[in-house]
Every structure is written in C-alpha cells, then in structure tokens.
Symmetry: C2
Subunit: 189 residues, 2 copies
Amino acid sequence: VRILGVDPGLTRCGLGVIEAGRSRSVSLVDVTVARSATHDEVPARLKAIADAFDAALDEHRPDAVALERVFAQQNVRTVMGTAQISGVVMVTAARRGIPVALYTPSEVKAAVTGNGRADKAQVGFMVAKLLGLQAIPGPADAADALAIAIAHAWRGGVNTVTADAAGTGHATAAQRRWADAEKAARKRG
Amino acid sequence: VRILGVDPGLTRCGLGVIEAGRSRSVSLVDVTVARSATHDEVPARLKAIADAFDAALDEHRPDAVALERVFAQQNVRTVMGTAQISGVVMVTAARRGIPVALYTPSEVKAAVTGNGRADKAQVGFMVAKLLGLQAIPGPADAADALAIAIAHAWRGGVNTVTADAAGTGHATAAQRRWADAEKAARKRG
C-alpha cells in the first residue's frame, strides 16, 4: 500500500511517500518539500504547491493520502494558508478518487513515537529509525509528512498489532506501547 | 467587464456574476448558490463546491474573480471550511489565468451601502437596487456574492468617481458618499 503523507503549508509543504507492508513494515519511496515564494500573491503561491502535489500524485500513484488536520486554534497568521492548502489537497485527491485520511498532530506523534506530545526532534528521530534512514529527513516538514504517512499506515488498518506477519497474535513490547498510545490518542479524539 | 463574486462556504457558496460597464453601471448575469451535503466527508463536500465553481467559470468566462477574505477570528467551526473553499477558488482561478481580488466583509458593505457595518438586509436591499432587481436575491449567500462582485467593479478601477461617463469629473452626492466610505474602509484595512 502506497501512502502520500502531506504536511500542509503555504510556504513549505511536506510531501512524503512510503510503501507500507506487513508487520508494520514501512519503507521510504520519496520525500520532497514543495515551496512557494512569500512575495508572490496567494493564488500563485497556492498554485505552486498544488502543482507539486499533482506531480507527486502523477509520479507515485498513492492508494491513499494522509493529511494533517488543521485547527483554527493554531497560529492565526499561518492557519489560513494551511487550511487553504488542505482544501486544495482534499479536492485534488477527491477528483482522482483517492481516499484522504486526516490526523491531528498529536495522533501522528503518538503513532510514531508513542507520545502525543513528542517534540520535532523525537518525531524526526523515529521517522528515520522506522524507515531505516541514515539521517533525519529535513526540513522538519519532510519528516512530518513521512510521520503522517506512517501514522496512516498503522492506524488505517494496513496491519494491526494482533495480525502480524507470523500470524501469532503476539506483539512486541514496542508494538504494545504504540497500540496503547494510539488508543489514548483516539480517546482524546 | 465580467466579474464572478464568490461568498465562500462549505455548506453554501454564493456565486454571483455581473457585467460592469461605464459610470458604475452594473447588471446581473447570473447568481447561484452551490451546496454540499453536511453528512458527506469534507473532500467530497469541497469537490461539490469546486465543481460548481468550475461550471460557473466555464459558462460565464469572467475577467476577474472577487472573493471574500476570510479571517481566522470568525466563527471557528465554519472558518476552516471557508478557508479551504477559498484555497480551491484561488488555485482554480490561478490555473486559468484569471486574476483574483480579495475584499473584507466591511469593504464590501462599505462599497455597496456606504456603511462598513451594514446588516445583511441592507446589503441585500442595495444589491437588488443597484442591479435593478424586483426582489432581493436569496439566500443571503447569493446577495453577498453579488455584493462582492459589485465591490470589485467599483473598487477594482473599472470606473472611478472622477472619471465618469460624461468625463465631467463631477460626482453625484451618492457617488461621493461611496467614495468616502471606500476611503474609510481602505484606511481600516
């Protein structure tokens, strides 16, 4: 299952593609950060990001798009651009018939690190570890986009802890921590 | 000059098309309210509105799109959907090479009624009067979309008060009130 994770933003928009297999295995396919020039008008900036998103869909043909859910409570100066990008991403995916799943930042952090309040460094560290990368992908938007994709791979039902590759139903301690963190994140909604 | 005014919204999105001529003359071309089903997922809802906006562009080939500027300070429950629609509208227009102008609600009210704090009824009344309509277009989203288009016709430089049709440079009392209201709205930013 190929998943395109999107960390939406008007200045920088992270686009991370992973392949999710059995037993929670995830591997990196591609990661880029689309950018727009801050001195451009907003329509041109949105178009720059939209074009990059379209190109990623064309190139990687994902089965699903996972997108960070935007809250109006966040930084007022950036939240409108982020919401606008989210709208563009959702419409583009809907027109191609690709399902879109939304995750809150704390759901993503909980899925990837086991802690819904993990900091950026911890998320980047775990993303690199889980994907078997030598270094943390940068900038933070790149690591975040991959984290969102991983969160979807695990929460979206590609594999559950009790249906692992060996079919034994036994989970490792780390898997149990993840499962508990995911449950806690779900309860918080 | 043909102008498509958009009152952005996820549940109801007003789309008002006017033709702006000399001496501040404006006439109605078409007005519709695009809707999406509240029980649908957000991507499908955005797509329903986006499809209606595309259809309006195809049918009316406007020279400009005028869009209400969204503020994060507004109702938090509706602002995210409104921002998402705005993003979709701006990208779609940008991809077609159509300029997009943004106006705050108070700029629109000041342009159409002379009062930046006018209520919905007053805006609807003036929209009907200015377009020579027998009745106020409904629902409010329809009248608002037309008001946004009219605001662009007058503020966007189609005609200015001092360059009227007769070329006399004389403004009527009503035109002076409009001009003053516009200046005041600009100062408030």
